[in-house]
Point group: D2
Chain length 294, copies 4
């Protein structure tokens, strides 16, 4: 039986750890707020009081934490994975972080005798709950093969996209496209409303043609109702727009729309919409157009 | 047997007229370049030497021409529909033109005793050939009902979105979304290439999640190959970006991304890419990033 | 004594007509609201009850009205200049209008036996009152020479920039630069305030270096006080941003910043700031940043 | 006689150190490339083989190096100022670096017993040569007073704008305004050329009104000639756009134009114009408009 140490049992990590239990893994979970390990225990997994305890006997370590500094602490901290896991352990980092940090951590992992995959996911809370995540994996081909049973237990579309860092790079591109598509839809919705067009009919016919998208399908409900429960929060997408724009800058890639959408996302955060779903970019277009709540 | 006078037998109108013949309509077609009526005749329709001859005995008149002035000339010109068709004739304008011009022409039509529907389509040449167009229809409900057999013969998703002008407004929104989604994809592709990510794998996993879209599905081939045969030409989408931005300005709707994408589309035209498919926006991102043809 | 028929005695035209009286011209003024001719009469000029009466005996006709349709009506209307002035009369249009309309009207003028100069001005109400306007003149060199005494009576920097239309083109460029420089300053001011920097000191040192500009000198008072009495109104600058962006589009010139600033100006109008000075673009940056009235 | 240790004798620092000698200071200069100390020695100053030697007996230390890591190394490195200067020494950092790094270094300085002023300059090579720099100073009022004789020897407009970091914040705002004003001018110039307007006349009249600016005055020569010798290089302004956009992001300030201009600056670098003067943003507008070298 394969033992998985799972660090980070939040909205995403919690359900993912549960799916691993169902798939037959022995899962030892750790979360800073210990109470969040309870559902895992109820599902048949085990809780651990520290990262050290969670990873000490693990064959595979899985990580799902918010940001680059968190991953760095989990891996390279005093109480972390490199200090306490067995040499040779396969580490799967599901977090969405800066590609350059991933690359640097992968080198540290190698130097410390570990194997690391960056494996950020797309699909949100629903994808995590339904084991239907898209997973974009960077790292060595043999490590990807070894991790395959874990990926299959939590994901639907699983693709090895290149060496370490490539997974994060694809995730960054994903967030760029998603934010831009939401913004475009928000501008279109505001335009249609200003002209008094029946929005539900309009979105139906738009969804059937070249304007159709997963964003239109999944976010049109929020746009019609004017309510934006998360979902994926503005404040997290703001972090991600920072990642993709910084990485593009490093590589000399010019993102005219990406940079502008990052500003509009920053505006949503600045005016207090950070806790809403990212489809709340609509509210920004309405504010610019003097049409709040129309 | 219902007689349809069909004005404009080009890349879109030609196949559409053919589908009407197959659906049992008596189709009398007119095109400025007479040779373009030949396929219609071979399919069992009839050619006419003038608009007057095409519409004189028609129960329904269908129009598919490039731009606002063309529609105006076809309808209100000396040799046009208002002058030569029977009073009460139902006119279906499939062209994509300015919403305000449509509204004005619909009033002229009413004053002259005609009924007009604006019914712009989405789906391109392939949609026209496969009778799979999305059709966004503006006009009176009873006229929409009367035109339904014609729409069903050429379209797949057919929606009555409101009064006259609403069809064009939705089409304008469609073009806004499509252009923005292409640009976002183009920025993502350039970003991924700069980081050496395997693009085909990356697009596969992106297409499976929230970044997925009809644009990604239908345009990824062009972006992978770097060839941009039309399809829908930059120069036509440039016209459409003018329509949506002008209409938004009229209505006091602010389109930050829409305005920027319109500039990038204008740039594509200015540098000589006007005859390429709109997915050639990728070439603009590459030029800005000093990465032409990578 | 040279007789000048002056059409349009508003905030700009009124003081300009007064300066012409002081310079020794016989000025016959017309304004739609007749009361506005009163200051001219008190200054020694004459009022006329119609355009026809104002221009019938004029050697020179001067026009200062708001927009393209107004100029067209004044010149080519039934009661207009072409119908009632003497053949050969020199017409100076001080209005800021579309370059293509100016060009077209200049051709009509020639055909009707008149000579036309487009002579839009910069410098605002203060410039008009102090006879310190910058005047950008398009038209024939000999007409420019003939109009010189009029220009010298109302302006400080007077330059013949090319044939008909060139004056309006330069004015359009002027409005593009001014709006962009205001927006840049507004972004800088919001940035400095967010960091708690003493704004008055900061603007002093910024004004002394490469960031210095007429906009910074003339608008910093409004930005410091947060009050934006016009001056030049947002709604007029919005009209002008439409002119320059349309003209750029026609010529295939790409204005990334110009297009974005036009959207921000449109936003200012949409939220109800149209009657404020254009330096109120600052309020838009503050709204985007959740810092209204800071 | 006050002794100044001057670190960094490049294009800016070299002439500044020379002016200090002329003003009666005893200047001990250090540069990584030792030969660059030669002009200082010829002017009456002294060269030092290390930072330690340059600062050991200094009353004041002045620094003028390219970027944040350089300043950090000069101050906090093993061979650096904190390790070798006398406690209580006043340190003036003329470099343009990240405000947050300045703030952090100022704290380190205080902890190590030093007094630090951030004093970035505007005015370029010409300003350095002519002792006509604008200096924006952050730090304690008594330190500003103590440094005044140094500032007066090299600057013309010298303003104390706030506590540590404020100087860098104002410099960041300066660079935002300058880049945006250049871009606006570049768009206007391309627009005017496309319409065949005589550019020299147009810039004359534009410079006399509200569109006038230091950028227009100082950069119009480059724009007219199409040659862009530095001056201030694109690659340095690109660094600065990174600073201002990052700092704005940190503070929740939205810079729509600033973010877009940063992309256009990044594009100039990406296509190989990094070594040209920042007024070469004009070349980017020309490329977008298909009008290179017109």
């Amino acid at each position: 039986m394969t033992t998985v140490g799972f660090i980070g049992l939040g909205i995403m990590g919690g359900p993912m750890a549960g799916h691993l239990v169902k798939a037959g893994f022995d899962v030892v979970g750790y979360n800073r707020t210990a109470a969040k390990a309870q559902p895992l225990v109820e599902a048949g997994g085990r809780g651990a009081p520290s990262i050290a305890d969670a990873v000490r006997d693990a064959d595979i370590v899985a990580i799902m934490v918010p940001d680059s500094p968190d991953v760095r602490a989990v891996l390279a901290g005093e109480d972390g994975v490199f200090a306490h896991a067995k040499p040779g352990t396969l580490v799967i980092d599901f977090s969405s972080i800066r590609p350059d940090v991933t690359t640097e951590l992968a080198e540290q992992a190698r130097a410390a005798g570990f194997r690391l995959l960056d494996a950020p996911v797309s699909g949100g809370e629903a994808g995590a709950k339904n084991a239907a995540l898209s997973i974009m994996v960077g790292g060595a081909a043999e490590d990807f093969a070894a991790a395959r049973p874990v990926f299959d237990a939590v994901g639907k579309t699983v693709v090895h996209v290149g060496p370490n860092g490539a997974g994060q790079t694809v995730k960054a591109a994903n967030q760029l496209i998603v934010a831009s598509n939401i913004q475009a839809l928000a501008e279109a919705v505001t335009f249609l409303r200003a002209y008094g067009v029946d929005l539900e009919s309009a979105l139906e016919v738009l969804g059937g043609g070249l304007a159709g998208s997963a964003v239109l399908n999944q976010k049109k409900g929020n746009m019609l109702s004017g309510e934006f429960p998360p979902g994926f929060r503005i404040e997290l997408h703001h972090k991600d727009m920072g990642i993709v724009n910084s990485a593009a800058r490093e590589a000399g890639v010019v993102l005219p729309v990406g940079a502008l959408v990052a500003q509009l996302m920053a505006s949503a955060l600045a005016v207090g919409d950070g806790g809403l779903d990212h489809s709340a970019l609509l509210r920004g277009v309405e504010r610019l157009s003097g049409r709040e709540g129309t």
